[in-house]
């Protein structure tokens, strides 16, 4: 073990303090749960009085309404009672002694062979073996228990699952395991047992249960199914596809699926829908290579329209010229002393 006996005792002391705080919080929670049960019982008592009156006076419609209220309360009572029962049972367990927590830490080191303490981060950690599920390699995971969050007895805040050499899902880089997202383990069926183990100071059981979740795959409820783990993701819609179904945009170089891909009507190159531009003159979809700025009006038009002198500014100028009494705008129409948009572009190139 890397930890000295002195360090081990110091960590165990911090954990014992947290467990004592947790126990104090549990008493408060039990009092709240008792209050909830008592409120329901008071409501039932009130309903009983109203039912007696309804019965004596023959108010059947009112009695039916009161019965519906009764049903609502008695439906929720068992769940409230069970919650209270669980809280009572879990708080009865004796808090472990300092020596027992030290034994837990030693066992943890024996089971995983890698117990570490990070003083700055305030956590203890162990590392799993490399995990592979259904032929997909996910690598090793470091399980970090934040000591200061033990008293919260909430798994998401207490346990972080960190991929050491991440092999995340192609569709979501935050999902490093089908049941881990943003370093949070969704323990599913193991949740209650893990909370019980943590509250009881059974640290080794807690970590072994977490490992049990990581070494298994539940295809019914993953963040990302293993079937979609690998592959290439469409940059637009996020669809996961095989390599041979990928289209690469010649403009931005990103990968897209068939649905999100388009093509340039001028050069036939594959272009994504973000890169494609519509020429305002011919209204065709073109790639950035086939588009250019009109040197006269600055509009983005396709090179063909510019070459054929079809930019909107030329059309607009012609329309103005044809209007009775209008003056010829400078630098637009093809009159003496003026260049067309295409000639201007050509002169620029020369």
């Amino acid at each position: 073990m890397e930890l000295s006996d002195r360090e081990l005792v110091r960590i165990a002391g911090s954990i014992c303090t947290q467990l004592a705080m947790l126990k104090t919080r549990r008493y408060g929670r039990i009092a709240e749960e008792i209050s909830r049960v008592l409120i329901s019982l008071d409501e039932l008592h009130s309903i009983q009085q109203r039912l007696i009156i309804c019965s004596q006076r023959g108010w059947h419609a009112a009695a039916r309404s009161v019965q519906a209220q009764t049903l609502r309360i008695v439906t929720h009572l068992p769940a409230m009672a069970n919650e209270l029962k669980w809280s009572l049972e879990s708080s009865v367990a004796e808090s472990p002694s300092l020596g027992e927590v030290c034994d837990e830490l030693r066992q943890l080191d024996e089971e995983f062979g890698s117990l570490r303490h990070n003083g700055e981060g305030g956590f203890i950690s162990v590392t799993t073996d490399a995990i592979e599920l259904e032929g997909i390699y996910l690598g090793e995971f470091q399980l970090r228990l934040n000591i200061e969050n033990i008293s919260q007895a909430k798994l998401p805040s207490a346990l972080a699952v960190v991929a050491i050499d991440p092999h995340p899902a192609a569709s979501n880089r935050h999902v490093t395991h089908p049941h881990v997202s943003d370093e949070q383990l969704c323990s599913g069926d193991g949740r209650t047992a893990m909370q019980a183990a943590l509250a009881g100071g059974r640290l080794c059981d807690f970590f072994m249960l977490a490992r049990g979740v990581l070494e298994n795959y539940n295809p019914d409820s993953p963040f990302v199914p293993l079937a979609d783990w690998e592959g290439i993701i469409c940059s637009d819609c996020g669809y996961s596809m095989s390599e041979d179904a990928v289209h690469c945009c010649t403009a931005c170089g990103r990968d897209f699926c068939d649905e999100c891909m388009s093509f340039c009507r001028r050069c036939d190159e594959s272009v994504c829908q973000s890169c494609i531009e519509d020429c305002p003159a011919c209204e065709e979809s073109c790639c950035p290579e086939c588009m250019t700025d009109c040197p006269t009006c600055g509009r983005r038009v396709c090179k063909v329209c510019l070459k054929e002198n079809n930019c909107l500014c030329v059309q607009e100028a012609k329309e103005k010229t044809n209007e009775p009494g209008s003056e010829e705008p400078a630098g637009v129409a093809g009159g003496p002393g003026n260049e067309t948009a295409a000639e201007h572009a050509g002169a620029g190139r020369r």
Partner: protein, 75 residues
């Protein structure tokens, strides 16, 4: 005689339980987790791995932890 049984299956609990003298770990497992396969559990006695035929002693701490737990995608 009594042993401390830590069952991490399901809800997870720890409590003392009576066992007949001469009860092996394998028998104890089948009594307390009937229908389950011991291969799917990590079984420890006094924090150490033991063979199936190990005979439980007064005051032993027996831990059974499932190794196949179904995770989910929501806490």
């Amino acid at each position: 005689m009594r042993v401390l049984f830590v069952n991490n299956d399901g809800g997870g609990f720890a409590d003392y339980t009576d066992v007949a003298p001469g009860t092996s770990v394998e028998k104890f497992f089948s009594q307390h987790l009937p229908g389950r396969d011991s291969a799917d559990f990590l079984i420890r006695v006094n924090r150490q791995p033991v063979p199936r035929e190990y005979v439980l002693q007064e005051g032993d701490r027996v831990t059974m932890t499932p190794t196949k737990i179904e995770g989910a995608s929501r806490s």
